[in-house]
Symmetry: C2
Subunit: 716 residues, 2 copies
């Protein structure tokens, strides 16, 4: 990889960025695109129509200023603590990379280029320099200049740990103060109990009632047994599809449906609307029937069997917490308790699963995850093949003439490989999310967090270890399992990949982030969908997909920390990337994302742990590199650093982690005491609590303006 | 190693056993030896004098019958649940090895000797056979007879898992029923809180009072702040030594003390008694003064600073448990709670430690433990050298003539090595116990359990891995760290050590167990001590040292499981060993050991986990062995077995482990309800509770009959 190839990539990329920016700045002002660009504001009831204005056709950067000036308090009131913590992740990374960047660019880069170097930088034909000239590989073995790198590693490790501690402390205190300032919320008074033992003499509901009333007579309030509603769910999704189809038919008066449609139905448009309308009525009738059946509590012969799970409500937060913390039954596989998620956070399909399958599905998920992660190497290896021109020429001799064009070469080596890798990696989040849904989690937030971890390790393994230790799958495993030489092997192969990752960050990092910033894909999708949607159709604003966004930022953080002393050139590109991400996420929180639930920053420990992982990895590579470069004292003195880092992590786990898993007795009891001062509003709250956890499948069917459209005469 | 050497060892050993048995059967009947042989009965107040009887001089085996016929209920009422669980460990091992023994001796041994064998068994000169003839090494590579071993491994794994499940279930149920049948006990109503934040405005005691009274107004009862009493403890131990010395002087009227004693004091015996008596009085006066100072609660200027720890008492078990389970403060490093140990179980010296040192000492202990475990290899390697006659002859040429005597050869190769190993291993339990005491545990039982684990892994590493992978320390680590080839290397080296371990079990196993059974060492010690002890001196019966006895049984269990298919010859020796152990421990429970505290079998999970470890180890070795012997399908089909075993272990952890860490809410509340029926006795219990946790250093000094002996005129 030479400098000119990098510059080509960066150029393409910057051009794309500017293009996207211009499009975005114009398109976002058109009311027809509001659904794409400001769904959040629309969902909140913002008006669709604004008077025509010439300004609408001129790109303007005012939204950047708006996003930039958003204060932390505004962000918190707008999108909650989760969004604030997510933004802290980006600013945290910015801080670290600014510090590391200053050291890297002003200290390490000159040392690499002009210290005790192997190769001279070609100032005259700058673009023809290999990127290796700027990395640690350019420093002579045994050179004392390497001690500069040694000191830099210690400095950056120390600074990162300090910042990690600061952030953990800050977010923990935010979490506590969020709890203190919160109003009574249903999930604070509720636990979920499952694996309730079934008995022939009484129903699940009776068992729950007698068990908890006996154990906690003073704090137990009530309970709701969960019912298996998968049949209703199937019917409801059928009804939704039919309703959509009718909508499509009605909204487009010009189109003729002469050909056979999917149901094999001939006839005019109106006949079809009529037909679908009747079908919809039938299904809705059926749903209502089943809903009323399901709500007959205590009827064990009902076709909607009670699941062996229930939400149990308590009169106080402390009551719920102590019922959760003390294992209720002497048999630990019965009456298993979990803190209840927020009502909107409950993942209802889970309760349709048989609880006996939970264990097996968990095992299956683990096996599938491991297989998927390992087999995913194949596209990665193909990508690596593309970076190697000679191999391409051997495989496809007819390409020789094209490959000899300089620009094509630069695109192929500089841009394409990382783009393909990036696109194939896009598969990971939905797959991991799907795997997590069948793993038995009861809430969306748990699924998101589990999927986050899966995506993160998937990415680390595939992008980092797999591209670093190239070879067959089994050879990879074989190398990893040899713990003796892992440091050595990392030190040999990680720096060799430096130029690849510099390009990766500088190109696909930007492309990906800018295409999302400017909502390119949603805009194209909306163009395709537009004929089929009706303007008044109800829609929800999307919420931030933590399993996609958190691992992405974390992965770039990992790259930056690992490479900062090997190839400091990566840092300015990372900083630009992070700045773009900073603006994006602040903007798409204002306009696009609306939080559906609040975990109060419960995902921060994942961030902390992965940062520690990347620090230790960097330190191991440093130790190996110094050994390779034959200054063994530096290698030896590097070893206390990972030990200290892990000790620091151990301390943080003791000091902060418990705050992220449960609230303390002190805070629960203080909040309870506050509540007791206002008896009237608590009574009202208890009433609401009893209906807070209702399966959405049991809600009455409501389609926006259904009655108006379907009940009205079809031909007026 | 040839059969005759083994037979020599077994012979020596059996002779020793019989000798010890005869001695024991006579000596135990002599009243002068009661302190050695029946301390427990003595401590319970059994009479020392019995009429003279001729039977006293004839060895009799009646105690064996008594020990054998002891029922489980008797054992439980005699020594509590811990002893019962300990005996279950032995009977469990007996069951497993009987099953494995039948398969091993009647199926595997014939296959090894006469299947598709490498070497013929020499029936004529049986004693000249190598032990290898009886092991798996005698089976030809590629022989289909190895499938018999394969099936045996599956069978024994299945049987062991079934038994493990059965035992876990049984002991868990015993634990629950023990709790249900127990009377109110102080530790059930108490928690220990430490790391109490200090404030300048109020004392520790006031902080505790206000904190818990505010949080738990309905269940909080009272508290006791722990004081640093290390100075009193030092004085008390000085007083104890002086008292002992006076006792020695008074008990031996014949001895003349002409020479200078340790205090540099000349003079007659009476002068010295006088001098020591005065010194003792001074110290005791000092102790009383300091005790009264220390008990002035709330005086922060007192020289006995309050430690930042307290026992907090609650009105109900549930109150205590929920205060423990819910982290009390929002800062997880303050107000750290632990369930209180039983009053007799408290390890008081711990509270003299500064709490800030706790973390550091823990780290130091881990480092020291690792170093000790690794450096201990040196004696082990020397021991290995002894088994190699040729090396000895090279090192010590003058021994050549002695070494050529057949009997000496047999002793050196068969008996000495394992004896030396056994003796050096005896160092481990006290060292590990010491390490555990400074690790910050608050109870003797925690220390015992932590030391148990340390000793177990120490033994496994040193006896098993170290003797198996002979070589330098670093080479050992180097081999272990290469996870790829560990199965292969185990399979190569473990079977090669088979004959060593057969001898090890058949000789030192018996010697050690029989010498303890017959209390040889305590008897010799008592002979040496006797002139210095007074018959009426108070003494305590020893309690079972779990950190010594549990790992020992477990280690032989490990050997048996690992070697059962490699060298089935080990099993009959193990069975004899276990039978001896069975009788011993049933007898050292009737007569010797008296339990000081009760953990209700809390150490069983250690047993379970180490059995699982040995099963997986055995299965890995089996997979490697079959690969070595070139029947790769057997090797491949061995791999599901460790996976299944680990899944089984995972299930057991979910199903049973929580029962061993805490009692369930259900059981706590039910017991509380029972108590509430009897108000009067609960009021009495609460009164007792307040004084249950008193530092022994603050008790008034009491030496048995001190007043009689010291207050009486010295010359009458």
């Amino acid at each position: 990889m030479i400098v000119s190839a990098l510059l080509t990539s960066v150029g393409i990329n910057t051009a794309l960025c500017v293009l996207f920016f211009t499009f975005y700045s114009i398109l976002r002002k058109q009311p027809s695109n509001y659904k794409v660009y400001i769904p959040r504001l629309l969902a909140q009831g913002a008006s669709l129509t604004t008077p025509f204005n010439l300004k609408k056709l001129i790109p303007s950067p005012d939204w950047i200023a708006k996003a930039w000036s958003l204060s932390e308090e505004d962000l918190f009131s707008l999108s909650g603590l989760d969004a604030l913590v997510f933004m802290r992740l980006i600013t945290f990374s910015l801080k670290i990379f600014t510090f590391a960047g200053v050291i890297g660019i002003f200290v390490l880069l000159p040392v690499n280029c002009w210290g005790n170097h192997l190769e001279e930088v070609d100032i005259v034909d700058f673009a023809a320099n290999s990127l290796d000239v700027f990395t640690i590989s350019n420093v002579n073995s045994g050179s004392n200049w390497l001690w500069v790198h040694f000191i830099a590693v210690y400095f950056v490790s120390g600074f990162t740990c300090l910042q990690l501690h600061h952030e953990y402390k800050y977010i923990a205190s935010k979490r506590i103060s969020y709890f203190y300032s919160s109003k009574p919320q249903p999930h604070q008074f509720t636990i979920l109990v499952h694996s309730i033992p079934s008995s022939s003499s009484c129903s699940i509901s009776d068992s729950v009632e007698s068990f908890f009333r006996e154990l906690y007579p003073s704090t137990y309030l009530s309970h709701v047994v969960i019912r298996r509603t998968n049949k209703i769910q199937t019917l409801l999704s059928k009804a939704k599809n039919l309703y959509k189809r009718i909508g499509q038919l009605r909204s487009d008066p010009t189109r003729k449906y002469k050909n056979v449609d999917l149901c094999g139905l001939f006839g005019s448009k109106d006949d079809r609307i009529d037909h679908y309308g009747k079908k919809l009525e039938d299904i809705e009738q059926n749903v209502r029937l089943k809903q009323s059946e399901a709500s007959l509590i205590g009827e064990s012969c009902s076709m909607f069997k009670e699941a062996r799970a229930a939400f149990v409500f308590f009169k106080s937060r402390y009551g719920a917490a102590s019922a959760f913390h003390l294992q209720p039954s002497s048999n630990p596989t019965q009456w298993i308790t979990e803190p209840a998620p927020q009502p909107h956070d409950v993942y209802w399909p889970f309760f349709s699963e048989s609880f006996m399958r939970q264990w097996i599905s968990k095992l299956v998920v683990i096996v599938v995850y491991i297989l998927f992660t390992i087999l995913f190497l194949i596209p990665v290896l193909i990508v690596q093949g593309l970076t190697n021109l000679e191999q391409l020429e051997i495989l496809f001799p007819f390409l020789t003439s094209i490959l000899s064009v300089k620009f094509v070469t630069q695109i192929i080596t500089g841009y394409l490989p990382s783009l393909i890798l990036q696109l194939s990696l896009k598969m990971a989040p939905p797959v991991m999310w799907f795997l997590s849904t069948i793993q038995g989690y009861i809430s969306h937030s748990d699924i998101e967090m589990s999927a986050s971890k899966k995506v993160l390790w998937f990415t680390i393994w595939n992008v980092f270890f797999a591209t670093v230790f190239s070879g067959s799958v089994f050879y990879q495993l074989y190398v990893i399992l040899d713990l003796r030489e892992i440091t050595w092997k990392l030190a040999v192969s990680v720096p060799a990949q430096a130029s690849f990752f510099i390009t990766y960050v500088a190109t696909t990092g930007w492309t990906s982030v800018s295409s999302e910033l400017f909502q390119i894909i949603p805009f194209i999708c909306s163009l395709i969908k537009r004929p089929f949607t009706r303007p008044e159709e109800e829609f929800e604003a999307p919420s931030l997909a933590y399993h996609r966004d958190v691992p992405r930022i974390l992965f770039f953080g990992l790259l930056g920390i690992t490479y900062f002393f090997l190839a400091p050139l990566i840092l300015p590109f990372l900083l630009v990337y992070l700045c773009l991400a900073y603006i994006i996420y602040r903007n798409q929180f204002i306009n696009v994302y609306a939080p559906k639930y609040e975990t109060a920053g419960r995902f921060w420990p994942i961030v902390h742990d992965s940062m520690i992982f990347s620090l230790v990895l960097m330190q191991m590579i440093a130790a190996g590199s110094f050994a390779l470069k034959k200054i063994s004292p530096a290698s030896t003195w590097m070893f206390p650093l990972p030990v200290l880092t892990l000790l620091f992590n151990y301390y943080c786990r003791k000091r902060f982690l418990p705050i992220f898993t449960a609230y303390s007795g002190e805070s629960l009891i203080k909040k309870d005491m506050e509540d007791q001062k206002d008896n009237a509003s608590m009574a009202e709250f208890y009433n609401k609590l009893l209906t807070a956890y209702k399966d959405p499948a049991l809600f009455p069917i409501q389609h926006a303006s259904r009655d108006d459209s379907l009940a009205s005469p079809l031909l007026s």
